[in-house]
């Protein structure tokens, strides 16, 4: 229970479904702030108190479990390391993968619980053979199945999402108000919880430092300077200060970030079009396809709020092992390594990979 409206309603619904429920608030920082600021929805003492007040009203015991050490290592440090390596991580997915449905679930199971229930908008269904499947929520606008794409069959079997069938967030808020929860009108959180002011670039600069480096064009020719590669993300247009226009007069976009050499590669918008993505770290959310090595039709989604795109996916052999290769029917725009590609078949989440290579739809022009 984060202290937000969703987990409070989820807990109440779990109780009404007949389960024996205990409210757990995760302490993810050893130095929590006192009061909520901006659009954060967790992690302050005020949020912890909000969660406790909801638990009081529901009439369930409430405890704070300290996962701050694991959160720092598995999510915060990982976030910094990924950026440092030139990738664009999703810390919420990492938290689901390693904290909420891993460390927390592990502790809960050991202490005699059967499942972790959260306020995520997603659904769990069971196939004809009794295997659990992860599906999109009924309300597509709030659907959060993307950030749960990292869950495995074992994790899904011990998860509950009581909000999955709710038609809208408004309905959840109305239900919270009816139940007398003080958080019924609490604003949604949408920033990274451990970056209080929402300034990701500034936060990273403080931790990884910023050093002047070279901006290259697609041919590798230096065309300007930048103030630190980590400040750039693939697809970015603003903040590339070359001082003179591109030969074709069109705006330049960041195509690639190379933190090891502190280089940023820029080029035309078309070069952002990605014809193929692949990742060697992939998982299946539930039962794996029977023949994943044969290309199968699916949809791919590369961000929490991106539209899904029709694609073909298959597992292929590589020098180092295997990878999940995804070929979208239409090129994807602005894909950065480190992002997660979640593969859907209909409403079902089939699996995901962390993108570690992309193939541009537009070959580098021969100069």
């Amino acid at each position: 229970m984060s202290g937000g409206v969703d987990s409070a309603v989820a807990a109440a619904r779990a109780v009404e479904a007949g389960h024996e429920v205990v409210g757990v608030h995760l302490a993810l920082s050893r130095m929590p702030g006192t009061l909520r600021t901006g659009s954060r929805g967790c992690c302050t003492i005020e949020d912890s108190m909000d969660a406790q007040r909801a638990a009081n009203i529901i009439g369930i015991p409430y405890y704070v479990w300290d996962f701050s050490e694991r959160f720092k290592l598995d999510v915060v440090d990982d976030f910094i390391a990924e950026y440092t390596a030139g990738r664009t991580p999703n810390p919420c997915m990492r938290c689901n993968e390693r904290i909420k449905f891993a460390a927390l679930l592990e502790k809960a199971l050991a202490l005699g619980f059967d499942a972790v229930a959260t306020g995520h908008y997603a659904s769990i269904e069971t196939d004809a053979d009794g295997n659990p499947e992860l599906h999109r929520a009924a309300a597509w606008a709030k659907d959060q199945s993307y950030v749960l794409g990292v869950l495995t069959a074992e994790q899904i079997a011990h998860s509950m999402f009581p909000l999955g069938a709710t038609p809208s967030k408004a309905e959840v808020r109305a239900e919270a108000a009816e139940r007398g929860f003080s958080v019924a009108t609490k604003p949604d959180s949408h920033d990274i919880c451990f970056i209080p002011d929402g300034d990701t670039r500034g936060w990273l600069a403080e931790r990884v430092g910023a050093e002047q480096g070279v901006v290259l064009d697609r041919s590798g020719a230096p065309i300007g300077q930048h103030e630190g590669a980590h400040a750039f993300t693939v697809g970015q247009r603003k903040g590339i200060n070359i001082g003179y226009p591109a030969p074709d007069g069109k705006p330049r976009f960041v195509l690639e970030v190379r933190p090891k050499t502190n280089e940023v590669v820029v080029g035309p918008r078309e070069a952002l079009d990605i014809a193929e993505i692949a990742g060697s770290k992939f998982t299946w959310a539930g039962r794996a396809p029977e023949h994943p090595e044969a290309a199968f039709a699916c949809e791919v989604q590369i961000r929490a709020h991106a539209d899904p795109v029709p694609a073909f996916a298959q597992v292929v052999a590589t020098d180092a092992g295997t990878e999940l290769k995804i070929t979208p029917d239409e090129p994807l725009n602005g894909v950065a390594p480190g992002q997660t590609a979640v593969v859907y078949v209909g409403t079902r989440v089939l699996g995901q990979c962390t993108i570690d290579r992309t193939v541009s739809a537009v070959p580098v022009p021969v100069t």
Binding site: P61, D66, R70, A103, L104, K107, A110
Partner: protein
């Protein structure tokens, strides 16, 4: 009915203290008012002060009522520091209560104080030789010495008279935080004051009185700078309209606690021994922390480390089984902290995380202890399976 084994956190109010409290609340009159109703309130307040003074062997004028134990500790530490004319060193053992730790840290960060945390031995007792060296290095610069009479987590009694003697040789004020000891071991302020203790802090709700009132027992010869300014009540040390009803209730609890010391002390100590023996028999790996000798620890205190599991897992499982225990202190957000007392005693962070405190009081019975002993084996087995899931492996 839940079994309550957390009397050191707070203990049930005595029925007589509740009666006295509620009756006194019906009376009107500010003890500072000159009219008859004010005089009546003043009379009841001063009778209460006399009874609280009697419970610690002080003169009534030496009892300064505060809004609780934490305020008393703040008044002593900040008050002495500010009254000591630029002397900057504060000497205190490690493993003190947060009321002391955080007050000193605030003075360090905001007011130029220099703190020297004195080492504890493996039983939690302060290293007197270290204190002596620390004072001797520059006695003139020491603002004050402060220490717990009994550690609130592990229950170890401190050699307060010997500490006072070392400080008194250089006229350094000594504050003793007696909040956890008050009502459980005899306190004779005249004797400790003669030995060099300038002030002791006590609190009502630890002995069956109400929450929200405590006292700094401040020697008539000692000077503190007040924290709170206003009407000049209580020797100009603590302004603010005095809470007559709370003081009366406090006084009732103090009288009962002192009258019962001779009979309750041994009864609770015997229950504690039953608890300790039972825990060590049920969980042979458990380690009793603090002084194993009954003369060196609070009678109602049992504190263990359960190797291989988190104290907060055990707390949760025992709570689910209807037994209330404590992991020591929790931060404001409710996060159980690894015991800073065990860390100060030189124990590992893992030991400090596996710590659990059970404390007994006036209402404790053999049935309470037996209920804990019945629930513990299963809770321990399950908490061991949970292990350290919330910790980074290998640390």
């Amino acid at each position: 009915m839940a079994v309550y084994l957390d009397h050191a956190a707070t203990t049930p109010m005595l029925p007589a203290a509740i009666t006295a409290y509620t009756e006194a609340m019906t009376l009107v009159g500010n003890p500072a008012s000159i009219h008859s109703q004010g005089q009546n309130a003043k009379r009841m307040l001063e009778e209460a002060r006399e009874q609280v003074a009697a419970s610690v062997g002080s003169d009534p004028i030496e009892v300064v009522f505060t809004g609780g134990g934490t305020e008393a500790v703040n008044l002593a530490i900040k008050g002495f520091f500010w009254a000591r004319g630029g002397r900057r060193r504060i000497l205190a053992p490690g493993g003190e209560h947060h009321a002391t730790l955080d007050t000193i840290e605030w003075l360090v960060q905001h007011d130029g104080a220099i703190v020297e945390w004195l080492p504890l031995d493996d039983l939690g007792r302060v290293d007197l030789a270290a204190l002596e060296r620390s004072i001797a290095s520059d006695p003139e610069s020491v603002a004050l010495v402060t220490l717990l009479q009994a550690n609130n987590e592990v229950g170890t009694l401190q050699p307060t008279l010997r500490v006072a003697a070392l400080a008194a040789a250089h006229s350094i004020p000594v504050h003793v935080d007696a909040i956890s000891a008050y009502g459980h071991v005899p306190i004779d302020f005249r004797a400790v004051s003669a030995a060099g203790v300038s002030a002791i802090s006590i609190s009502a709700h630890k002995i069956g009185g109400p929450v929200g009132i405590g006292a700094l027992v401040l020697s008539r010869s000692a000077t503190v700078v007040p924290l709170i300014h206003g009407g000049g009540q209580q020797r100009q040390v603590r302004s603010g309209t005095q809470d007559v009803a709370a003081a009366i209730s406090f006084a009732v609890a103090a009288s009962v606690a002192i009258e019962g010391l001779e009979s309750e002390g041994p009864r609770i100590a015997a229950l504690r021994d039953r608890l300790v023996d039972g825990v060590l028999a049920a969980v042979p790996d458990a380690v009793l922390n603090g002084d194993p000798d009954a003369s060196g620890r609070l009678p109602g205190n049992a504190h263990f480390t359960f190797p291989g599991c988190e104290g907060d897992s055990l707390l949760f499982l025992l709570d689910a089984a209807g037994v209330s225990v404590s992991t020591g202190s929790a931060c404001q957000a409710g996060i159980p902290e690894p015991s800073h007392v065990l860390r100060a005693m030189g124990r590992s962070e893992t030991d400090a995380r596996g710590a659990l405190r059970m404390t007994l009081g006036r209402t404790s019975t053999e049935q309470d202890v037996d209920a804990l002993l019945a629930a513990l084996p299963a809770a321990y087995a399950q908490a061991s399976r949970a292990g350290f899931a919330d910790r980074v492996p290998g640390r």
